[in-house]
């Protein structure tokens, strides 16, 4: 059999790489455990623990905490991409990818596309848990879809940042521990769980500057008004900006990683 090599096809290669990552997940379903357990755990823990203290009841607290937990879960799912990439680099399999005549962005893009499945599962789990605890948004279902897509897109955009970090970091353990700290800081120092005005002044400044606050605010506004707001547009643009900046940086780091 004579084998003719077709020209490297970015889309096909990325699809194959995404398929590879999905296969890995199918063989190891426990890779999904974090994005399933974490939102359920946090939603119940925070909802029942702090609901009364912060909002006077679980039900009243849910409109605050559902978008908060949703974005926190997106963040933590995004950190997984970085750890996974570091693991692949350490295992030597990326050497093989690099030595193949294919586009260099394909292994990274494939990974991140496959990771959007993780994001989707995390989103569904978060929203479902909220619903089961009594969260009933006033807006139509189509707006739930809109915020889900916005959250997934933002999570996906942020996963490029963690992918870059995964490439630059020394070990998968380091990626995990630093990402964990970053995720905690970003999600707790925001309006995810509490009204910002209750914070001390200097923390208010930080929380108001936190990009996560903007994302959560945008989602809450959509859920409150049933309309696409200018804030959500800014957030979307911000997400696109992250991808535009970090995707080339990540590919550059990948090419120069030796």
């Amino acid at each position: 059999m004579e084998i003719k090599q077709t020209r490297s096809n970015l889309i096909m290669n990325t699809a194959t790489m995404a398929y590879r990552n999905l296969l890995k997940t199918v063989h190891n379903p426990d890779r999904f455990m974090d994005v399933i357990i974490q939102p359920v755990m946090f939603m119940m823990l925070f909802g029942y623990l702090f609901g009364g203290a912060i909002a006077g009841g679980v039900k009243a607290y849910l409109p605050t905490i559902v978008p908060g937990i949703l974005i926190q879960t997106m963040l933590s799912a995004a950190t997984g991409s970085g750890a996974q990439i570091r693991e692949d680099l350490d295992s030597g399999v990326f050497d093989r990818f690099k030595s193949l005549p294919m586009a260099h962005i394909a292994p990274l893009a494939g990974q991140l596309f496959a990771d959007s499945l993780r994001l989707l599962i995390a989103t569904i789990t978060s929203l479902t848990t909220g619903y089961l605890m009594g969260w009933r948004p006033d807006v139509g279902f189509q707006w739930i879809i809109v915020i889900a897509l916005l959250a997934i897109f933002m999570g996906w955009a942020i996963s490029w940042v963690f992918a870059l970090f995964g490439l630059l970091a020394k070990s998968a353990t380091m990626v995990q521990s630093i990402s964990m700290m970053g995720m905690m800081m970003l999600s707790f120092l925001s309006n995810a769980f509490i009204p910002i005005h209750t914070l001390p002044k200097f923390m208010q400044v930080l929380a108001n500057l936190n990009p996560i606050t903007f994302v959560i605010t945008a989602i809450r506004q959509i859920l409150a008004n049933g309309a696409w707001t200018s804030e959500s547009l800014i957030v979307l643009a911000f997400g696109i900006g992250i991808v535009v900046v970090f995707a080339p940086l990540t590919v550059w780091a990948y090419n120069h990683n030796n």
């Binding site: 090599q5 020209r7 296969l23 890995k24 295992s91 030597g92 050497d95 030595s99």
Partner: protein, 312 residues
């Protein structure tokens, strides 16, 4: 460009910060030959190989693969070779079949072609029975076989093997050698790195000895052995009181002899006919021999001789 060369390496140098890992190395590899890069750990073999396979940028110097410069035409160069890394670079979490399918697709084969090639390679490398097991359940030997199979998907004319048998048990190692010989018989050019002399001796047509990043020697295993040493006669006497006497006899016949311990004499041995004379003289003096052996030069001698640690 010379048509006879599969690989040309000219003045290749790699510096990591202040450390020179590969220092002005030049050699050519002919089409169809097995070329061994031999050296101790950390000598720069793998760094050289990584530069040859586009995985690492050279600080200076050039590598061409079938005429394609790896720096300027990396895509064209990559299409010409298969690479099997030092660590089995296959996916642990998925099955052998899935690994082969994915890498076939990434190599640009259509789905049908990929399926066919996967079955061919699984059969060829006796992996058909374990095709659907995940790699984490594989033995070291099976992993290497799969790894090699993956590098052969496109039937590359040039195959790079980075320490193909490191960490394998002797049996699996012999199997791996068989597989490599089969590839050679099919006309592939093979570049392999190894720290095992017997492996280089068994497989390579030509060997480049690398130490401290420098190319120390290049040649056929036979010519390297010739350069370094000749056969040696090792003789031990039963009674240590007679060792000086015995040494004198050996010296008369073989020109020189050294005492290496209380009872053992070592002498350069280039004429096998002298052995009878020595033994007859020893018998005449009633010296009894407890041990006698003729040591052929090994590549180990070459290796130790050429890669002696620098005294500085």
């Amino acid at each position: 460009m010379n048509q006879d060369y599969a690989v040309q390496v000219t003045h290749l140098t790699k510096k990591f910060k202040d450390k020179v890992a590969v220092d002005d190395v030049s050699f050519n590899i002919y089409r169809g030959e097995v070329f061994g890069l031999l050296g101790p750990n950390g000598a720069g073999k793998t760094t050289t190989l990584r530069m040859m396979t586009t995985l690492l940028k050279a600080t200076s110097g050039h590598v061409t693969i079938f005429g394609h410069d790896v720096a300027k035409e990396s895509s064209a160069a990559r299409a010409m070779f298969g690479l099997t890394g030092q660590y089995a670079s296959v996916d642990e979490d998925i099955s052998a079949r899935e690994n082969l399918m994915i890498f076939s697709r990434l190599n640009g084969l259509s789905r049908a072609e990929a399926k066919q090639r996967t079955t061919e390679l699984l059969t060829e490398f006796s992996l058909l029975e374990s095709a659907d097991k995940t790699i984490s359940d594989f033995s070291g030997g099976m992993r290497r076989r799969l790894d090699l199979a993956v590098s052969l998907i496109t039937r590359p004319a040039l195959i790079f093997l980075d320490e193909p048998t490191t960490g394998l048990d002797p049996r699996t190692r012999t199997q791996m050698w068989e597989t490599i010989r089969k590839l050679v018989a099919e006309g592939s050019t093979i570049v392999l790195t190894t720290q095992y002399l017997d492996e280089a001796d068994e497989l390579a047509d030509r060997i480049a000895v690398i130490d401290h990043g420098k190319l120390v020697k290049i040649g056929t295993p036979a010519s390297l052995k010739e350069q370094v040493s000749q056969s040696k006669l090792s003789l031990s006497v039963a009674d240590s009181n007679q060792v000086t006497e015995a040494k004198d006899i050996v010296t008369t016949h073989l020109k020189s002899a050294t005492l290496i311990d209380q009872t053992t004499i070592l002498a350069p041995f280039d004429d096998s006919n002298r052995l009878t004379d020595i033994l007859m003289d020893l018998r005449a003096k009633q010296i009894s021999v407890s041990h006698l052996s003729v040591q052929e030069p090994t590549l180990d001698d070459v290796f130790l001789n050429l890669t002696a640690p620098t005294h500085n």
